[in-house]
């Protein structure tokens, strides 16, 4: 089974966001970058499928030279190959999708895994977009996956429950928490990953379909009224919620 896993490099989730001087992006100074947490789930699922069925796992990212480090994380976790589609910061999600699709067309994977969203821009669109470009079925936000021959059955989270979706290979799957517990790479694997080759391809830079004009830190004035734990305080809270905030 040949598996392609699309990964992205994102700021650590604990990062304090500071707006950069261009007013449109974050100031990368002091930011620690990690492999997108949902992509770890995607990669883990791919590795388990390979362990069960044989084949190989290719991790791919579209980005700048800095994303090499993220690919090393994927190699340390156990990916066989790593591909950097290298260029400037991608124009938008569509541009990333087209670059991923170009590679997928050459490789013809049986399954393509992605995360349900990248926790930087939370663009929430690559999996279905990539699948549509490739003319493949897709199931997103998957928390349980069963592949039997070419039959695919997946549970995906929806409002107020789950739905079971069925399709056939080849297909695109996006990973949600609960799918598995990603492994931690061991030190020797991290060392070995440093020496593995990374295939580089020049990215095809398309015109952006969307533009960012401004980035800001949302300001919401909170009342921050701190009360104690006496019965009077509790009654006071209920009155405030009822009469001031008017939420009950």
């Amino acid at each position: 089974m040949n598996i392609l896993v699309c990964i992205s490099r994102v700021p650590d989730t604990a990062t304090k966001v500071i707006i950069g001087s261009d007013g449109k992006s974050i100031d990368p100074k002091g930011v620690k970058y990690i492999l997108n947490p949902y992509d770890e789930l995607a990669l883990e699922e791919a590795l388990r499928l390979r362990e069960k069925n044989g084949g190989n796992v290719t991790a791919i990212t579209v980005g700048t030279a800095e994303a090499t480090e993220t690919l090393r994380n994927a190699l340390a976790m156990g990916a066989d190959n790593a591909v950097l589609v290298k260029g400037d910061e991608p124009a938008d999600s569509y541009s990333v999708a087209v670059n991923l699709a170009d590679y997928a067309k050459k490789m013809n994977p049986d399954v393509i895994f992605l995360g349900k969203q990248s926790v930087d821009f939370d663009s929430l669109q690559l999996p279905s977009m990539l699948a549509e470009i490739l003319g493949l079925p897709s199931i997103s936000v998957v928390s349980k996956l069963t592949i039997d021959g070419t039959n695919v059955s997946a549970e995906r989270d929806i409002e107020g429950g789950k739905e079971v979706v069925s399709t056939t290979l080849p297909c695109v799957i996006s990973a949600q928490k609960g799918l598995n517990d990603p492994r931690y790479p061991k030190l020797p694997d991290i060392m070995k990953a440093k020496k593995k080759p990374i295939e580089e391809i020049a990215s095809n830079n398309l015109d952006a379909r969307t533009v960012v004009h401004k980035m800001e830190i949302p300001l919401k004035e909170r009342k921050a009224k701190i009360l104690g734990d006496s019965v009077q305080d509790i009654e006071m809270l209920v009155t405030l919620l009822h009469e001031d905030a008017k939420v009950i």
Partner: protein, 323 residues
Amino acid sequence: MNNILVLLESNKNSLKRVSLELITAAKSLSANNSAKIHGLLINADASNAAISAEYGLENVIVAKTGNAEYSSTANASVVAQVAKNINADVLLFAANSAGLEVAPRVAVKLSAGYIADCTALTVDNNQIMAKKPVYAGKALITTSVKTETKIFSLRPNVFTAQKADTVAQNVTEFTPVLSAADFSSKVVSLMKNEGKLDVLEADVVVSGGRGIKGPEHYHLIENLASALKGATGASRAVVDAGWRPHSEQVGQTGKTVSPTLYVACGISGAVQHLAGMSGSKTIVAINKDKDAPILKVCDYALVGDMFTILPILTEKIFEVTNK
């Protein structure tokens, strides 16, 4: 802007609230131009959309896929065909589990730019400006679409559905052309969390954190939630401990909620948790530590032991809500 197409979703015999929110958003986009708004309902009867007349939706298009099983690929084909048929230049979807799967496919089919999970749409110099949270709500971007056809999905619960002058509805049927390939994936069964309100759909969310000490105490959270007619949520610490299902996790790697009232009980307020709930209208924290970070981002707090506070609070709330 000439024609705005809104994908409606039905719920039992009516429309989901988010569909009414989309209609209101479409109306505000068309306020200063004469754009026509069309609501599309797939595999449901026009009667399900009747309520939208009260929200000012004049045109309802009904399309059947000819297959009872839900398929995101088939629905995407239907939306794209309808959009072409009516020359839609703006399409609005709900940023929910269905909309988020369908919209990107439609964007590819219509060569349109797409922005997901918008929390505000305004028209500025004839250009639609969309605001959307990024970095899990730690920042907000203002963005626009450059292509002729523009697609947006809107975060549920953020745009308020507003009643308008009731209109007479004009219902048309559309027969899509679909092939077997359009049904390449399909929903074969549904598992509803019976009788449980989902955090994504609730007006009030009461969440418990590690402070609850164990699953056997969760009834304290559940009781407060039921007094408030809300849903129960949880921090990751609680989900990782296996005390609550992941479907209840609020935060960066859980769900992003924006209810009218969010009550955080025994939750410290780590950035990853805040990322999932900072858009709530009113935030209440109950925590025994007066230095907990959650107290810096809340509207009201009760500082003390939640084991004594919660039963009293629940009772006092019942007194108000049962009046």
